[in-house]
Every structure is written in C-alpha cells, then in structure tokens.
Amino acid sequence: MAKENRGGGGVRASSSRYILTGIFLAIAAFLYYFWAVPYRAALGYREQLQLFQSTGQYLESLAGRPGGLATYAGEFLTQFFNNYWIGAAVMTAVLLLFLMLCFLIIRNFALSIQKYVNLALSLLPSVALLLFLGNPDVTMTFLTALSAAMGGAYLLVIIDSKGVGNTVKYAVMIAGTTLLYWVAGPVTIVFTLLAVADICREKEVSSVWKVVYALVAVAWLALNVYIWSLLLPFPLSYQLIGIGYVMHPDSLDAWQVITEALCVGVPAAAAYLARLPLKVTLPSLLAAEVIALVILYPKSYDCLTYRLIDYDYMVRANDWDGILRYSDKNEPDLPLSVSATNLALGMTGQLDSRAFDYFQHSAEGLIPPFVKETLSSWTTGEIFFQLGMINSAQRFYFEGMEAIPNCNKSVRAVRRLAETAIIRGEYTLAEKYLRLLENTMFYKKWAQRNLALIREPDGVENHPLYGTLRKRMIDEKYLFSEGELDKTLGQLFIKDSGNNLAKQYLIVYPLLQRDLDKFAQYMGVVAEAQPGYNPLLAQQALAFISMRSGQPIPRGAVPAMVEESLRGFAQAWTSKDPARIEPYRRTLYHYLLSEE
C-alpha cells in the first residue's frame, strides 16, 4: 500500500512537473511572441541607442562605476536586438531567468509552498518588470543588474541553508554586497534586504542578532555607496537610482521601485502566504496579475510612444511600404509620423499624387525643423540622406546621437556617419567610424566591406548608393538656411533631374505652404527638364488655380475626372455643409482652403 502511495505520489509529482514545465513554456512562448511581433520595434529602439564594443578599453570605461559591469552585460545582450527573432529570444531568456530566480528564492523562503502558488507569486515581480519595460527607455542594464542581485540572493540563501556559522553568514553578506554593488549598482538593495529577510525567518536566531545583522547589512551597503560617491563625478542621486538603468539618469520610475519592492516583499511574505488555503491564494494571485496587466498595460506601453518607435523602426529599415500600410491603419498626425509617411510616399513615387491622402499640416511635414530629440533628428536625417543633402544628413544623425539621454553612442548613427563621410570623400574619418563598427558583432562584416570599398580607387564612385548620392550633392557654396529649404530642393533637382525624391518634394513643398505662385514657378522648372511630368497633385493645383482666377482650365491639361472632382468640391464647400465637405477632407482643395 505504502509502495502504491509512493508510486501514486511519484506520478502526481511527475505530472505536476510536466504541467509546471508546460506553464513555463507557455510563458516563454507568450514572451517571445510579445517581443518578436508587436514590440519588435522596441527591441530595435534599444539596440540603436548603444555602441557596444567588444574591446578591453570599452570594458574598462564601464568597469569604473557601480553597475558598469551590468551595463556591459546588458549592452552585450542588447546588441542581439539587431535581429528581432534573436533579440526576442534573448529578451525572453532573460525574463525567464528572472522568473526562475524568483521561483527558486521563494521556494527556499517557504519550503512547504505549493508549486503553483510559488509560480503565481514569482509572476508578481515578473509582471511588474514587464510593465516597467513598457518604458522604452529602460535598458537591459536594469534586467541584468536585477538578475545579478537575485542570483546573489539565491546563492546566499543556499549557503545559509547549509547551516554555516555566523561568521560565514556575515562574510558572505559583506563580500556579496561589495561585489554586487560594483557589478550591479543600487539594485543591490534587493540582495541586502533578502539577506536580512533570510536571517529574520530563522527561528533559532535571537531578535538582537537579527537586528544587528540587519543594521550591519544596510550600513555596509550605505558605506559602499558613500565610498563610490567620493570617487565618482556623478551626483549621489544617480548612484541611488542606478547609473544606466534607464536612459534618463535622473528620473526614478515608480515601476522600478515596485519591481524591486516585490522582489523582496514576495519571498519575505511567501511563508505566510503558503499557509493560506490554496483555493484562496492561487485564484486571488492570478486574478490580481491579470487585472494588473489589463489595467496597467495600456499606461505602461503608451500607444502614441510606441507608434513613433514603430515609425522610426521602419524608417531605419527603409520599409517604405510598411510605413504606408501602417499609416493607412493609424492616422499620422505628429511631425515624425507625418514626415516619415511623406518620405515613404516620396520613396515609392507617390508623394506628388497621394500626399493629401494623409494628414498634412505644413511644409514642416516634409522636412521637420531641428529639435533636440534623437528619433526626430534621425528621421529628418534620413529624409536629407535620401534627398542627397548629405551635409544636413550628417548633422542630423550626429545631433540625434548627441541627444541620446544617457549620452551613449549609437550604432545606427555611427553607421550613417560612416556613410556620409564616405559620400563626402572623408575616407580617414569614415575609416575611424568603420573601425569602431568592426568591434561590433552585427556590423563587423558591413564595416569590413566598406573599408575594402574605400580602398578601391573608383569603388565609391561606382557604388549604387554612395556614387549616386555623391553625384546629387550640391556644389554651390552657401550657408544652409532652414527657411529656404525649397531653394535647396530646387538646386538638388537642377543638379540631378533624375532625383525623383527631390522633384516630388520640390513640387509638394509650395503646395503645403499654400503658395500657388511658387508652385507654378517650380512646376515650370521641373517641366523644362521633364516636359511630360504632370502628376495628380499638379493637375489638381492647376485646376484649382484656374477655377480661383475664373479662367478656364487649359484644354487637355487635366483629365475630366479631376475637373469633376474639383467641381464637386466647390459645390460642397460653398454649401458649407460639413457632411458634404467631409468626403473631400483629404484633398488638396480642402487643404488649400481650410486655412485661408
């Protein structure tokens, strides 16, 4: 009978293990899908805001500050985000490791705890962490640092469970705190408090000893912080928040505090929760987690922020069709999304016919003015790059990199800077950037190809991209003015009438300024070089000019369909009936009149 019981117990344990493994695998699958599909752009966003170098000098530059090694490890992992399939796997692995560590620590804190309750409890800090990661400026430094602190705490708990003496306990806590603070930074507080919680749950230890241990542990951590503060030029607040945990070094996100608090609080409370009836704890915990996710997810993963990240991701990948599909689903209404949509229209040759299918506000929607912000600068830099305004592209990529809040360098920007230097013929400078990229995992081959290219005598001239863009560059000497961009567009077109993007921008620019005289002038310039050029917007503008001036539309200049549509709009507009005007809301006619 006893044997049967053991056997039955074995089967139950075995099936429970399978179920648990299955749950872990389901969580892994969910996380992988989450990062590989809807939030792949968030991975790319993080990857582009660093320039991880596999050199001793880079390691040394980080190792001299608390948490620097976690940053090194975090950036090492982040470089895999270059490929979202691999990146999602890396992110999933790190989050699962964290979940596992929570699970193992809780199991040691509450030996009698039921496995499913343990898993549900372990999910609490994990859910908090996932919500914290909704802030795209949270770096992998925090994840690696927190995992290191949890790993340290687990080791400490294991050592403690071996029945070691007080001296060893103190030594492990003291050495562990110092080492962890250097490796992981202020998240060491999790280790310290878990060490205290671990001592406090031991019945054979006296209260006095527990208090003394707690005071020593906290004081020792404070001393570490103080000593580092004497050596570092950082304000103390940076050291307390964590250097490199978040892009903005001086802001503390509430979710960081909540995550760290749950890492300590959940194991500390596990023994108590283990005593509660399973029927109460498990559904309550799972319900709390689901409700937290449902309610807090939209706030953490702010839709508008991620929309801009998505646009930036597609601009970086030059996925023009993707941008247009995205804009068809989500109305672009911010400078970045509008300018990215216009660029995509231009790159696919549709700007001069479909520009007003989307929201337009002004000519700044074509080329936004400079703002000290990374993503906007890079999107505008990409517009300049594609147009052939290489000096301006270089400037905007450089400025965008300098605007990265944590002062990191960027692989994306350095790559573009290498390209702009190649196009400008600054080969020594290009070589410097390419050598840096040679020290990276995902850009090494590209850098080597380009190093070989610039050493070939006519390599750049014959290159399909660099050679073309070099030929498009303006020769005329003048100081660039943001107020006269249309003139620069005209110069680009005159330099190379095959510059289709510059041609479309030149035509649409005055329309967005509602300056029809200028439009007529620029159309004249384009028509001289390309007599047959007569895109839809030009037809509409011509029809509109004729109608406004009371002149008949020149015969054959516009198709009957355009004339008809203008007549329809005119009737709707004069009726002042919003319902009749509405179908024309996304037309050039409406745009031209709506602000007049």
Binding site: F234, Y238, E399
Partner: protein
C-alpha cells in the same frame, strides 16, 4: 578608482605572464629599408625628457611585434602579440634620463604572415627641456549645436594618469568651456560653466569664486579670456556667436560673431576697465591676450560685414594696444602687428611666449572659428623683427589651432585635426632657442589604439606646472551655492 584598476591588473598578471610566454620570438628575420607605418607618428619627433612612454601601434596588421628603444647603451623592449608596442614606465623613464639631449633609436621587428621583418630604425630626439607636466583640456564631441557629456580633464603627461576637473554629471550636463591657467601661477586659473547660475569659475589656489563679468552694456558674458602675468587682471571678449551650416561637402560648420568687444577685469578692485578702441560697434574685437610683461594687450579685430552671413568677407588682423597695469589704463592708440588679407588671412587666438619674444597665432582663409576650417594653420611672428614663420614642420592639411605655450616657452601644445579631419588631438612641438620648431608629436596614451576608439575632441589644451587643486564636486558646490 585607481586602486581598483591596480587590483584588476594584479589579478590579470598571471594571465599576462602566460600570454607573454606564448609570444613568438624573432627568428630568421628579414630586413626592409622601409620605415614602419606606425601610429601615432613618432618618427623623427622631438620629445621632452619627462614625457610618458611613446606607445605606438603598427598600422599594418601583424601577429607579433618586437620593438627595441635604445640610447647610450641602454635598451628597453616591448615584445607582445598583436600590433602594439607598449613600454614599461619605469624602464622608459630610465631611458629618457640616459637619452637627454640625444636620440633614442627605435627598431621595429614585426611578425607578418608568419615571417619576421625588421624595419628601418628611426630616431626620437629627446630634448633636455622639460615640459609642464599637467595638461588640461575639454573633452567634447565635435558637435554642431547639441552637446553632451562634456568633461574638463587633467592629464599628467609624465605618465598616463588622468583625472576629471569638471564633469557634465556634476553640473547638470551644461556647457563648459576650457580651463585656462594664469601664466605665472598654475594654481590660479578659471573655467566657464554656462547656463543659468553659471559664469566664470575662478580658481584661486583651490578657493573657487563664481564671477559674472557681464554688465548691461556688454553684448554677452565673457567668452575668450586670459590672465595678465601678475594674475591681477583678466582680459576678456564678449561675443554674440552664431553657428551656421555649409552646403558644400568640403565644409561642415561655420561659427561667426555678429558683435564682439574686449574688456579688462581688475580682480583686485572688482572693476571692469573699458577702452572705446576695444569696443567699437563698427568693428569686431576679440581673442585678447596680455603681452608677457603685461604692458600691452594683443587682440584680433575686423570690420563688421554689411550682412552677418557675409562671413567669408571678414578677415581679422592682429593688433596691440598699450596697457598700464599700475593704473589700469589703456593706451591711446593701436598698432597692427599682422594684417588680415582678404581671401587669404584671418588671424585668431594670439598667444605670446613667456619670454615675450614670439607670438603664436592661427590663420584661416576668413572668419573667426579656425577649428572648423581645414586650412587653419599656426604661424609664429618674431615680435622683435616682425618676421613671420609659417611653421611648415608643424602644420597639416587639417585644422591646427588652440595653442598654448609651456611656462618655459620651449614647448607649445595645440589641437590638430590632422588624423581624420574631425577629432582634435593634442600635439606638442619643441621651440629651440633660435626659434626653430621641431616636428610635433601626439600626446602618448597607454593604449596606442586609444585615439581610434575615442569619439571626443581634445579642445583647447592648456599646460600647467602643478595639478589643479579642485575637483568636479567643488565646482558643483560653487555653482549650486551661488544659485541659492
């Protein structure tokens, strides 16, 4: 932090020994008449006898490098895998002591493609003239408008130690301008922290004061400034500075003044001294500096252009006005020392040698911001004869400017963009008693690949005899306390 680095090195020692044991030794060595292509280029340079080891790398890839440096029968070596030659500091110092006033012969033997090749040896001349050991500079990205992570650093050129004097973290990522020593007193200096609550941070032997020299009639706060030899006066310019961007691929950024004037501040009497000759609204006066005896002020001046963007029509001349330090009075007339020439010469950044015999300045084709002008070169005028030395051994095809004399006048340091056209690096040149100037050398670094990986410019290097006696926390406290 240093202690931590030492601990790391101690831990790495066994590994290093193991690697050294595996480094292949030269055998069946072939000879070539070619000079080795090394970086930094130390071939034929003149260095002070107190310089840090001239570590370098072979630009061609190689498996191992065996380098000897010898003088007067004393030889040291660097034998390592890879393409870097790194010398032991203690051995190097001994070599420098032996080689004072003589040459060190460097022989490079490289293992390339499994074959050892010995290159033609080259000499490094070791001057008996010591250089001021403390070099301060601002580390800054060669940016357009956005700046980040600025630091003012102090490097001991006798070894590789470097420390932060002012840090972006400590002052809220604000703009900082360069640290300038007084000519006769290395612990009298100033730097600028820009933005609200900032100003000129004056270091008077470790005691920091925040000076706001701007008065309502000035066009801006102080921008370019220098001490007089006694440390009583600071001559400074106020400038309205405009950045603009070039269209052509060979140029990047243009920075110019639309207004500028020159004033003197009397530290003793806390008073700004003015001369109408230095604050003419029809002219642009800038880059002031005292003469070595403090009885004159050199400065640059140009006519204001009709339109501010006509910057290529602005050519500054180097002029001098007398100054009476006892009474704080200016002279009544000005002399032109070096005239600006349209399209050819615009003078900036005059610096007088400590003995007052020579004046070093930058020339560019036009304008006032030579660091962004590829054609910018250094020139030196003999103040007794007026003869101009175009410093061909010193200049490069890229910008050479932001120069500073050592206290002895035997060395000067300057920022040069010669390597890649964008990132400024500190080069040193020796000036012999007869005024002849040697081939300059780049500030040596512990790791020869340092400059390849570095993305900062060394801006406005300045030499001092003693270390600066304050740290980033002191500057932050000074700024914060003045805010309250």
């Amino acid at each position: 932090m240093n202690a931590m680095i030492k601990i790391r090195y101690i831990l790495l020692l066994p590994l290093v020994c193991l690697l050294a044991a595996c480094t292949p030794s030269p055998e069946n060595v072939g000879e070539t008449d070619a000079r080795p292509d090394i970086y930094p280029d130390y071939v034929g340079v003149t260095v002070p006898c107190n310089i840090a080891p001239l570590n370098f790398m072979l630009r061609d890839s190689c498996e191992a490098l065996y380098v000897t440096a010898s003088s007067e029968g004393y030889e040291i070596k660097s034998h390592r895998k890879g393409n870097e030659a790194i010398f032991n500091l203690r051995e190097w110092r001994k070599l420098m002591e032996k080689a004072r006033g003589k040459a060190v012969t460097v022989t490079v033997t490289a293992l390339e493609g499994g074959k050892w090749t010995r290159y033609r040896p080259f000499d490094v001349n070791v001057s008996v003239d010591r250089i001021d050991p403390y070099l301060t500079y601002r580390l800054i990205e060669p940016d357009y408008e956005v700046f980040s992570r600025l630091q003012i650093m102090e490097r001991n050129v006798e070894d590789f130690s470097e420390r932060v004097v002012c840090d972006y973290n400590a002052v809220g990522n604000r703009c900082m301008n360069c640290h300038t020593h007084a000519p006769g007193d290395s612990d009298l200096s100033f730097l600028y922290v820009r933005g609200e609550g900032g100003g000129m941070v004056l270091n008077d032997h470790g005691k920091l004061r925040l000076l706001n020299l701007k008065t309502p009639d000035m066009v801006s706060g102080s921008v370019y400034a220098q001490f007089d030899p006694t440390g009583r006066y600071i001559v400074f310019s106020t400038n309205v500075i405009i950045p603009a961007f070039h269209s052509r691929p060979d140029k990047r950024l243009e920075v110019f003044d639309t207004k500028s004037d020159v004033y003197v501040y009397d530290l003793q009497r806390d008073e700004v001294l003015r001369s109408p000759l230095l604050a003419d609204s029809a002219r642009l006066e800038t880059f002031p500096t005292f003469s070595a005896d403090g009885r004159g002020i050199y400065y640059c001046v140009a006519d204001r252009p009709a339109r501010p963007l006509d910057v290529d029509s602005v050519h500054y001349s180097l002029c001098r006005i007398g100054f009476d330090p006892e009474h704080g009075r200016f002279g009544t007339g000005t002399d032109t020392i070096v005239a600006g020439i349209p399209g050819k010469r615009s003078v900036s950044h005059p610096r007088v040698s400590p003995d007052g015999k020579r004046l070093l300045y930058t020339v560019a084709d036009f304008g006032t911001f030579p660091i962004w002008h590829r054609e910018a070169d250094l020139q030196m005028v003999d103040l007794t004869t007026g003869k101009i030395d175009s410093l061909r051994t010193v200049n490069s095809g890229m910008s050479d400017t932001y120069h500073c004399w050592s206290s002895t006048g035997r060395w000067f340091v300057f920022a040069s963009k010669r390597d890649d056209g964008l990132y400024g690096k500190p080069y040193f040149a020796h000036v012999a008693a007869d005024g002849s100037v040697s081939k300059p050398f780049l500030l040596p670094q512990k790791s020869p690949s340092f400059y390849d990986e570095n993305l900062k410019s060394f801006n406005v290097p300045d030499l001092g005899r003693t270390p600066v006696s304050f740290n980033p926390g002191d500057v932050a406290n000074r700024i914060n306390s003045s805010k309250q």
